[in-house]
Structures are given as structure tokens and as C-alpha cells.
Amino acid sequence: MKKTKQLFAGLILMALGLGTVQAEYTLNLMKGATKVSHDIYDLHMLILWICVFIGIGVFGTMFYSIYHHRKSRGHKAAQFHENTTVEIIWTIIPTLILIGMAIPATKAMMELDDVQESEMSIKVTGHQWKWEYEYLDNGIHFFSSLDEASNKARQVGSGIDPFTVDNYLLDVDKPLVIPTKKKIRFVFTAKDVIHSWWVPDLGWKKDANPGFINESWTSVDQPGTYRGQCTELCGKDHAFMPIVVIAMNEPEYNAWVEKQKSALAAEAGSASKQWVKEELIAKGKSVYETNCSSCHMADGAGLAGTFPAIKASKVVTGDINAQVKLMLDGKGMMPAFGKMLSPVDFAAVVTYTRNGLGNSVGDSIQPSAIQTLQSATPGAGK
């Protein structure tokens, strides 16, 4: 009932043409969390109001005329059809208005373009369909994909009500963490197709083009969690590669950095340990679900014509080293996982595909073996 009322109110506002300025209904652009986003918000309001006023003028005149100058009220048609003076006026006035809009726009543009004097850099790489973050100053490096709860709920016919999932489609497994009050430079690129990185609170989006680097910057004032999405159509799961940025105060951020570093070290340790097959299979299942099921489907059946089935695949039931090699280097649309998965995850998913999803080859591979292969592969080509 409340919802209906809200909708009704929204509709009325809309009818009044005031809709876009009522922030409570999230009808308007968000103000955002940075100076740039505030500037852009102001710019947006300026042009919006200019348009509203011109609209009222033009439509007002028109409706006055529609009401009064109609045949049914006996109005006789005038026959004028030219007036150079008014035509000049209504050419010049819009020109002036446009100049008035262009000046603040140019200022905002210049400010956004300036990536000089940044205090740290983060490299963002778009993949089908996850984001890779690399802190260029301290070596922290991880992938960030849609969180499991959303991923389960968003499957066709999952039966899970999206309203019951927290931050449905706007949550990730590993968010990007940044310090507040620092000028952070972002460099964007992509591995496969074009993606675009957008967090509305930061005030901009930037395309991630394969083979090129784009730059932008931000400086967030308040700690907080800011959410966004990929905004360039990048294939099947374009809707499912969200972005979460957590801004932290300097001390908290530093603590986070330390934690990441020790986690990296621990992971390196676990790669050299000897794993049992069942452990690998169990771990591999979740790795598969986050990394592979978007293409090869949760049951490994693939998608006819685009993505081959894992179930009974010649590669998976064949030589294990050939499968590892294919997954390390990628092939066509199949991404090169050599640099994307940790040795443990890699070994786990290989083992899982060969012993689950309807396959039962029986063999397994150790993370340490993968680690050797990974350091031998020079990294994915193109």
C-alpha cells in the first residue's frame, strides 16, 4: 500500500513536471561524494532549470494559443507568416544561453582532466565479467566479481526473490578499498572487450579499452561504501559486473593494506602444500561457480554455438596437461586464467572439472605444479 502511494505521488509530481527535482524518490542525479561530483551536480541542475524555464515559456505560449486561437471559439486566422525581428531575437537569445552553459561546463571539464599530482595509482582492468584491481604502488592485486548471493538469485528461474538479497547485483566478493582525502589516479584498460567503470558517487565513468590506457582521478572526502556498475555493453553478463568502492580513513586503510599483504603470503604458503583430491574438488566447485559458470553454465552444459560443454568435453576427459595449458593461455573467447587464478584455485577448478559436472576422469593436479607452469608462461598474449 505504501508503495502504491509512493508511486502515485511520484506520478503526480511527474505530471507537474517537477519530478526530477525531488530527491526523496531518487528521481534526480545524486550529489555524490567528491568535489567533482558536486560540480557536475550543480551543472546538471543549472541546465535542467534552464530547460524547464524555456519549456514553460514555449509550451505556455503554445497552450495559450491552443486555448484561445481555435476555430470553435470563433477565432479568425491571421495571415502573417514572417517577422525578421522576432526571428533574430529567438536566434540570439538561445545563443547567449548556450554560452552561459558552456562556461561552467568547460571549467568542470578542465578540472576532471587533470590527473597531475596524484598520490597513488590503481590500475583497473575489465574482464568478461569481472574487474581486476592492481595497486601500482604496493603490489596488491585481486579480482572482484559479483557476490555469490546475487549470483545465485539472478539465474533465470532461480526462484529467489531479489528483494531478499542485500544489495542485489550491487555487491562483490572483494571490494576496492581506497583511502579518503587522497588524490587517487585510476588507469583503465580491458583484457577482452570494452567495459566502462562507473561509480555515480565519484561523478564520472570511464571506458576501459583493450590495448589502451585511459586515466581519471578522484578524491573522496567521507568514508563510506560507494556502489556502481559496468556501463558499456560487454556481452552476456554485462549487467552482472558491479563495482564496490570502500573509502576508509588513512589508518584503517593502512591496516587493510597490511592484512592484504599477509594474506598474499599465506596463499603462497598454501600453494606449496600437498592437497588431497577431495579438498581440491570441494574448493574447485566454488571457484567454478564464480569464474566459469557464467559461460560454461552451472551444470557444465555450456551454451550451444558459443561456449562448449565441460561435461564430456574432449579436452577435460583428455590429457590433463593439455587442459591446464588451454586454461593458462586461453583461446578465443575463453579467457587466459594463468594470471587470474591463484595456483590453489587453478588446481582446484581443474580437478573439479575432471571429477565433477558429470565427468569422472579420476586424476588431479597439485597447486605447486600449477605454480611452476604459471611462472613459465609469460602471461596472456592478446
Binding site: 555493453l233 554485462h238 551454451l303
Partner: protein, 535 residues
Amino acid sequence: MSAVVAEHDDHHDHGPAKGLLRWVITTNHKDIGTLYLLFALAMFFVGGSMAMVIRAELFEPGMQFVNPQFFNSMTTMHALVMVFGAVMPAFVGLANWMIPMMIGAPDMALPRMNNMSFWLLVAGVLLLASTLFMEGGAPASGWTLYPPLVLQTGKALPFAIFSVHLLGISSILSGINIIATIFNMRAPGMTLMKMPMFVWTWLITAFLLIAIMPVFAGAVTMLLTDKFFHTSFFDAAGGGDPVLYQHIFWFFGHPEVYVMILPTFGVASTIIPVFARKPLFGYSSMVYATAAIAFLSFIVWAHHMFTVGMPIAGELYFMYATMLIAIPTGVKVFNWTATMWKGSMTFETPMLFSIAFVVLFTMGGFTGLMMAVAPADFQYHDTYFIVAHFHYTLVPASVFILMAAGYFWLPKWTGHMYDERIGQLHFWLSVVSVNVLFFPQHFLGLAGMPRRIPDYAVQFADWNMISSIGGFVFGASQLLFLYIVIDTIKGGTGEKVTAEVWEDAAKHSLEWTLPSPPPYHTFTTPPTVIPTEHI
């Protein structure tokens, strides 16, 4: 000379060939116009059904009906079918029917080629439609077909590319034909500045077509060679750039949207004076404004690419240039308003649609202007705000004007009057539902909903549901239009319409001097009196 022409001895007073074959081999501009219009109407329903799939999936958050890949195919095909199958052909159909009658010509200048234009269109759309049934699905990369994504298309890719080639040739041939007709076939005394506005806008549109369709053809040819012949146009590893494609595409794409709006302006400028019973205000400035818009359309393309990482000088230039378009477009809007001012207006269905067009197009124009401001577009780009913008310029603008044109000229074409009551009902249902459909999309976009997504975060649920409901009502209302078209062709209200149909229409343009329906061949001898109401 007559001896030779005698081979076609039925030259003058013969009618159309008998049977279905008539429509296949016809060279008559009215027949071909009819073919185009009916084909376009059919495609409007096909493209509309795809939009209904989109709106159904977006009715609620969560994935209900289709898988994401198919959803993207629907978005892509919806746009391609609407643009290349419905709106453009509908205007070509109007051009075929009306231009010869408006300038007092016996037919189009190149009648055989005219036939070929139509069938190439059908062939192109057939190729495109066939991709729906292919392994890997129809193209799913958006109608912009950006690489590298589009290169991941399955078997459909070469078919889609060749379909673009065919559609391109078809449009180029139509463009050439229209230019030759207007320059070469005008009745004596019909100077350029006496031509009806519809003819003017089509003349300029025809130039646009010839100048941009080869550009699109070039772009997709490069896609083809990149995919199948190892070239590197759009691959950085080989020294190319995926963004190069975007530049080429939008060099085509921006003028392309004006191809869909300039004839719209022409029809509006034809209808409004008739029902305001007043000459069009500022005829010559309308002509210059149209030319100015067409010229500007070639130098603003990268406003679709503000976020791709252009050098700042480029961003600023494209921002300024784009903003300039508001000036000549404003002139048009003001002139229509001035045409209504102190008129003696009546509000038959064509006029209602035209007034709605002026208002709603202007709203679409305003949001266009907002997006032209580059820093603000960093927020708007690729969200539903854009979707709202261009549907306002396409649906309640181009499509509404096509409806208006249908109501306006159907009595002339068929000799029967449509049912005004149903027409009005169709109008009111459409104008309300189209706003329920597209207005909330502004809010969605501003609140952060990206476009081209089959599923969305729950805070977008309410407006999406409203939008979908608007969409279903709007879609269903169009069945009324279909009914009216069929009904009118079959006899309509039974009321016999006069040659003029609308009060004093003959003061405005030549077609109203002909009987309704006009004979198969008209103006085999040029008219002697040219209406000059607007000068």
C-alpha cells in the same frame, strides 16, 4: 516518337498490372510508396514485439523470461528493426507517395531503380531477421555493433554485416532517386523556394543518406575483414584501435538520427499550417534551419563518445559543436509555435499528433542538450537517461508524426475517411501511455540504472514496473492504428471525401488538387498553378 513508345501502347491511361505480380514488378511511385508504408508498419510491430520482450523482462527485478544473451539480442534487433525496418522505410514510403504529387511530377525520376530500392530493403531485413534463428543467436552487441564485442557474435555476424550492406545500398538508391526527382522533375514554376517543406526536408535528408550510408558500410566491412581476413583495424596489438570503429560508426550514426527527424520536421510543417488555417511561419528560415541542422550533424559525432578517453580539446570541441544544434532546432520549434499563434485551430487527429510531437520532441531535445554538456554526460552516458532521450525524439516524435501523416493522407490515398472517434482515442491512449513508458526512464537513468541490462538492482523496481505498464498500454494502443488503417482502406466511415479533404488544404500543396484517391498516373501533364500560401 509515338511509334516507339507504342511498344508500351497502354502508356497513358493504363492502370496497374493485374494480380499479385503487380506489386513485385511495379515501377509506380504510389504502388512503391504503399509497399514501403505497409512494410514499415509490419516492421514496427515486429520491432515493437521485441520491445515488449524487453519491457516484460524488466517488469520486475530478477531474471524471469529470457536469458541475458537473448535479451541483448532483443535490444540489438529491436533497435535495428525499428530504425532500418520501420522509421526510415516509412519516410521513404511517404517520399514516394508525396514528393511527385507535391512537385507536380508524373513519377519518380528513376522508376526501375525505385523498385530495386524497395526489394533491397526487404532482402536486407530478411538477412537480418534470419540471424534470429542461427547458432549463437542474433547479434547481441547493441545496434552500434562495437568491436571487439561484436566480433564474438556467432554465425550471425557475416549475415548481419551483409544485411547492413544491402540496407545501405537500398537507402543510397532511394536518396539518389529523391534528389534526381526533386532537381529534375519539378513542374514549371515550382521553384525551389516554392516547394512544400516536406519536399525540402527530404531533399536534405537524401543528401545525408548518400553521405552516410557508405560510411556505415565501410565500418562493417572493416569488422568483416577483422574477423575473417586477419586485418587489425580495431585491434591495438596490430596498431589499430577499437575506438576508431566508434568514430566511424558515429560519423554515420549521428546524421542517421537526423535522417529520422528531418522528414518528421517536414511533415509537421505540412500539417500544422493546414489545421491552424494559417501559412507556415518563417518558411525560408525553416529551410535554412534544416540545412544548418544537416550540416552540423556531420561535425558533432563524438558526443556519443565523451567517456572513451578523447583528448580534452576534442571533448570540448564536440561539446560546443553539439550545443549549437539547439539554435536551428529552436528556430523550428518557435516557428511552429508562431504558426499556431493567432490561427484558427481545429484538432483533428493529425493535428493532435503534431502538437504532441512539438511538445514531446522538444523535451527530447532538452535532454539531448543536457547530454551535450560533456562533464554532465560523464554521469548520463549509457544510462536510461539516454534511453529516455532518444525515445522521446523517436517515438513521440518520429513515430507520432508518421501516425499523423497516416491520418492526414490516408483519406487522400484511399478516398475514404478514417473514423475520427477511434483516431482520437488512439491519440489520447498513445500520448498518455508513451509518457508513462518513457518519462520514468529519466529518473531511472539519473538514479544510476545502466542501459542494456536484463536485470537491475531493486531500488529501480518501481519505475521499471510503471514504465513497463506504460509500454504494454502503448503497444496495445497501436493495434487501434492497425485497425484504422485496415478499416480505412476497406471503406472507412463510408463518407466520400473531397479532393481537398481538409478545409482549404489545396492552398498549401498540390496533392490536394488531385481527386481522392488520385488516379494511378498523375501529373502526366504538369500543373499550371502552384500553391504559394507559405511564401
